[in-house]
């Protein structure tokens, strides 16, 4: 690319940038609306799964539904609802699945307790194994003694 061409395209890019700046400023407006509401929205939305793209949080998702739900949460916060009430609003519609931290209840006991049960089982197995090993004497029988000596003798 010639130098003049480079300057031209650079200034064109700059012009486009400037032209699109007001549009972007418009889009960002709701965020600056009320920092307190936004902060609370963010805290709640981080805890909530976006159902359209299930591995994303509601805070991080750009899915249409996520944007609608953020709008809904925003209006609930402005109505003076507590965080728990907002969470209940979401759970009553989409179920416990929307929460990244499932509540502890009979159907989730295995989920919450499972790792600890496995850990206890592992520890128990380890203790049993070590005890059993300690039980068998470490002394070698005369035959093993001879075998060992022969092997060692070979090496040296």
């Amino acid at each position: 690319m010639s130098r003049a061409g480079f300057v031209l395209s650079l200034s064109l890019a700059l012009a486009l940038q400037l032209a699109s700046a007001p549009a972007r400023a418009n889009e960002a407006a709701p965020l600056a609306d009320d920092p307190v509401v936004e902060q609370r929205l963010l805290v709640i939305a981080e805890e909530v799964r976006c159902l359209v793209c299930q591995n994303e949080s509601l805070a991080g998702s750009r899915a249409d539904l996520a944007q609608d739900l953020r709008r809904e949460i925003r209006s609930l916060i402005k109505q003076g609802k507590t965080d728990k009430e907002v969470m209940d609003f979401l759970v009553s519609r989409y179920g416990d699945y929307v929460r990244y931290r499932p509540p502890v209840k009979p159907s989730t006991w295995l989920l919450w307790g499972g790792p600890f049960v496995l850990l206890a089982a592992g520890l128990a197995a380890l203790v049993l194994f070590v005890r059993r090993r300690r039980g068998t004497s470490a002394a070698l029988s005369p035959e093993e003694q001879r075998e060992a000596a022969a092997l060692l003798g070979e090496k040296s």
């Binding site: 159902l51 609608d68 519609r93 989409y94 416990d96």
Partner: protein, 182 residues
């Protein structure tokens, strides 16, 4: 031989868990709404004149109008690709004429929705317009199409997430409607 039994048993347990986990569809989230009253709403009908005043007869629809009837609520949109897959099944269902089928046109443009129905055929008793998706949120909609079977008392008895296939219609929805209509 005996020393292999424990690892084998552990492996079997793990295999069963993995098999169960792999055979489940992660996009099917059990709806907490099944067994609960269908959320109320009043929405303008798709076929009504958008300029008509709110009080005009036949301009709006509410689940209250369906009290005492078993009916289906189907969430659809002209932008929804799976809805086209589902559409012929709904047309067949409408021909059976056994229960009203109400369409909830979700986050759509009126003109597009009307065009869609004109092009593919209109299986709905009537459709209502949920332009901003607020009613959809009340119904826990997260993937269009979704279909609800609502009983005479206004309770949601069944929710289908994703397209209704002929199989689901024949094995689940039709028997359920017959049972509820009794």
């Amino acid at each position: 031989m005996k020393r292999f039994l424990i690892p084998l048993a552990l492996f079997m347990v793990l295999a069963v868990f993995l098999a169960l986990g792999l055979n489940r569809n992660p996009s099917e989230v059990p709806s907490p709404l099944v067994g609960k009253p269908a959320p109320m709403f009043t929405l303008p009908r798709l076929d009504a004149d958008p300029q008509a005043p709110a009080g005009t007869a036949n301009a709006s629809f509410s689940p209250k109008d369906m009290a005492g009837k078993v009916w289906l609520l189907n969430v659809w949109a002209s932008w929804c690709v799976s809805c086209r897959v589902e559409h012929p099944v709904l047309v067949d269902f409408a021909k059976l004429n056994i229960a009203p089928l109400i369409g909830l046109d979700y986050k759509d443009q009126r003109a597009d929705a009307k065009g869609w129905l004109a092009k593919f055929g209109d299986p709905y008793t009537l459709s209502v317009v949920d332009a901003d998706g607020r009613v959809g949120i009340d119904y826990g909609v997260y993937g269009v199409p979704e279909t609800y079977v609502i009983d005479k008392a206004g309770l949601i008895r069944f929710k289908q997430i994703g397209p209704v296939t002929n199989e689901i219609l024949q094995t689940k929805i039709l028997p359920l409607i017959k049972e509820l209509q009794r």
